[in-house]
Amino acid sequence: MELLAPGGSLEKLKTAVLYGANAVYVGGERFGLRAAADNFSEIELKDGVDFAHKHGALVYLTLNSFLYGEEIQQLRDYLPTLENIGVDGAIVSDIGVFEVVASLSSLPIHVSTQASTINLPHVEFWKRQGARRVILGREVSMAAAIEMRKEAKIEIELFIHGSMCIAYSGNCIISNFTSGRDSNRGGCAHSCRFLYELSFPENGKKEKSYFMSSKDLWGIAQVKAAIEGGIDSLKIEGRMKSNLYVASTTKLYSQLVKDILSGKLEGDDILIKYQNEFLKIPNRHYCDGNLSQYAGMDSIYNDRENEIKEYDFVGVVLEADQSDFMLVEVRRTFYEGDMLELITFEGEDITFKALHILDVRGNRQLKSRPGTLIKMQKISQAAKWNLLRAKI
């Protein structure tokens, strides 16, 4: 089974691959949702694909915008480039885009979750069109997904983690009409996260509520069923999320899959081992969406607009092979004496105290400054590109 992680930028793609993703999905500069993400230019895409392939991972490119007339012609011109670069699949939601990709390239086509495919006849519809894979809508339960996999005999991909659109995917155009930003072209303004005053004319009642805001999805308890049921790919949401998010979620799911496959963990032990780790990742409280049963009232994040964040991304290890220090790129300020966590690629994360902070010339600093390089004491388990985090 494939673990598919978001590659919102070249850096995040590398992070995802190094932390255990079997595949990453990325956006080009055109045609993919998350238009505001740090999308890949052609040269970056080539680099990303080469990097992923070198590490045995695949790269899927999102072409899942709903395109307008003249953009289809631009897509035709873009396809040979994509094939040359060697991307391993195109994620598509618009049937016109599907048709163009199918007729002008040999790229495997994955039907995007934006197509809201949540029933078997719909999966079979896409199979008849020649899709390699269908990414099911988040309204589908794990049991139903497994059933569809069995019946339709086509690759099935399912979201296992991340923020959730509370609408049927592709069925929210609030941003289009309120902010002039097309949510089906990556412009969602997250209107569903706002605080609203609800007035009920029938009884005159008024209440303030984040009534449209969904808790985040975590599918820890469902991974075993997915593996046993033959689900082909489990997807982590979040091309717009931080590097830290990509590293920690990818690592945790990768480890979880290994634990399950090796038979080391069963039932509640899985939850006990992993729950606390997932709580360290910024979240809007977790629920399992529709994976076990229809999402209920308790799937609403009614507390506040933003995520709960316990840890912050403070740095990236750039050199770990020196005998007496590690070179770190600082992403957020921390102080001498602060407790940090090194997120290793595999195995336990390492908690350590920042004994000293030196600038690259060896001068002592009391705190680190974002956008600079520092030297810190060497941690023997550290590897290049490991991430550091600190409790907020």
């Binding site: 902010s179 072209r185 609203y196 030297k375």
Partner: protein, 393 residues
């Protein structure tokens, strides 16, 4: 010939439709509560109106715009079977291709109107769908996001036998969730309240005002506080090839006055009798994705030699005034060597060309070249900040 198509929630709607001279529709839409998330008729009312409509020579079309999972499909197919047994010529207005395929496989002669309101803004999509659903497809219901030029391009590309419908006057449907978002079940936090609910949702955020929110057994839908109105535009749109214009007045209690003004072609009066302000949406232009070009810093965008004649090398990671610049080589196929010329582009777009006189590693040892994913230090260059882009000339 253009046709105007109305919803019927009562006998009055059907009678008013029939009395429209010149604006009379041959088909009436009867919304069935088990088949649509929008305002609709319960089964017995539906039956009553269907009998009434068919008896008066009207054809009945039924919205089937749910996005069903497999469990819901079964229920839907039962309702469809009941309707088709009684009225075999009923047309279904379907949104989900899985459901449309299923209907065609069960009822090879069924007529469908495909609802492509959320997406499918190009002619390639619609041609493909027309090819797939072939003889079963009578009409496309186009998106309200399409500006007139795109409508024209789509209509011109489609076979003239296909009907094209757009919303002429009615609610702007913004959001559809399977979750029931209004209210709380006080006794059981995990359960949704089962009742039908309506609320106005008002946010302090700009333009998020007075959304009309309906909850029913299918989930929650939300409408913009304004109505879409292209009343003044219909003749122009008809010339472009739009054949059917939908007027959706289901939310308006007193529809009688609307029909009367409509019949007299008093469009201003129609607007006056509409309890919501109206907008023309994206009819003229849809630029709703142009913002993103601005959000990305084009100065730092990584380019290939064919774009600007330079080779991307990496990025500046650390700057010490009067001291050094740290460069991370991010080009897997290129090294930076002493003596080479580089162009450094700051986030603000300032370009500075310098020759690399010397290179050091993090132990401050002199090195000759900087390999992929390595950090190297060069002498400080005035005006350069971290994140600047480094390219080789």
């Amino acid at each position: 010939m253009s046709e105007f198509i109305f919803y019927a929630l009562s006998v009055m709607d059907i009678e008013k439709n029939l009395s429209q001279t010149g604006h009379h529709s041959l088909t009436i839409i009867l919304p069935h509560a088990q088949l649509t998330p929008h305002l609709a008729l319960e089964n017995d009312q539906f039956e009553k109106l269907a009998i009434f409509a068919w008896a008066r020579g009207l054809r009945v079309a039924v919205d089937l715009d749910l996005i069903p999972d497999d469990d819901q499909l079964e229920k839907i197919m039962r309702v469809v079977a009941e309707i088709l047994t009684k009225w075999p010529k009923t047309i279904f207005r379907v949104k989900n291709y899985g459901l449309a395929s299923l209907l065609v496989s069960y009822y090879p002669n069924i007529l469908l109107h495909l609802n492509v309101e959320f997406g499918h803004h190009n002619k390639e999509s619609l041609l493909k769908l027309a090819h797939i659903f072939e003889k079963n497809l009578q009409r496309f219901i186009l998106s309200i996001e399409l500006p007139q030029n795109d409508i024209a391009a789509i209509v011109a590309a489609l076979p003239s036998s296909l009907e094209i419908e757009i919303l002429l006057h009615g609610p702007i449907f913004l959001f559809y969730s399977p979750r029931k978002l209004l209210g709380r079940d006080e006794k059981n936090e995990a359960r949704w309240p089962s009742s039908h609910l309506f609320a106005l949702a008002d946010s302090e955020e700009n333009a998020h005002k007075n959304f009309r929110v309906y909850q029913n057994s299918h989930g929650t839908i939300l409408y913009h506080h304004k109505y879409l109105s292209l009343l003044e535009e219909w003749e122009k749109l008809a010339q472009l090839g739009v054949t059917h214009f939908r007027l959706d007045w289901r939310e308006i209690k007193d529809r009688s006055a609307l029909y009367d003004s409509w019949q007299k072609k008093e469009y201003l009066q129609v607007a006056t009798h509409t309890p919501f302000k109206t907008i023309r949406g994206f009819h003229q232009n849809n630029k709703s994705d142009s913002i993103f070009v601005k959000l990305k810093n084009q100065n730092l965008r990584r380019q290939g030699p064919q774009e600007n004649g330079r080779t991307y090398l990496g990025t500046v990671m650390d700057v010490q005034r009067g001291g050094h610049l740290a460069i991370l080589n991010l080009n897997s196929t290129n090294q930076l060597c002493v003596g080479e010329q580089i162009v450094i582009t700051t986030p603000e777009g300032k370009e500075i060309t310098v020759k690399v006189a010397s290179l050091f590693n993090s132990r401050w040892q002199s090195i000759e070249r900087l390999a992929y994913e390595e950090i190297g230090f060069i002498n400080y260059v005035k005006g350069v900040t971290t994140k600047s882009k480094v390219e080789k000339v």
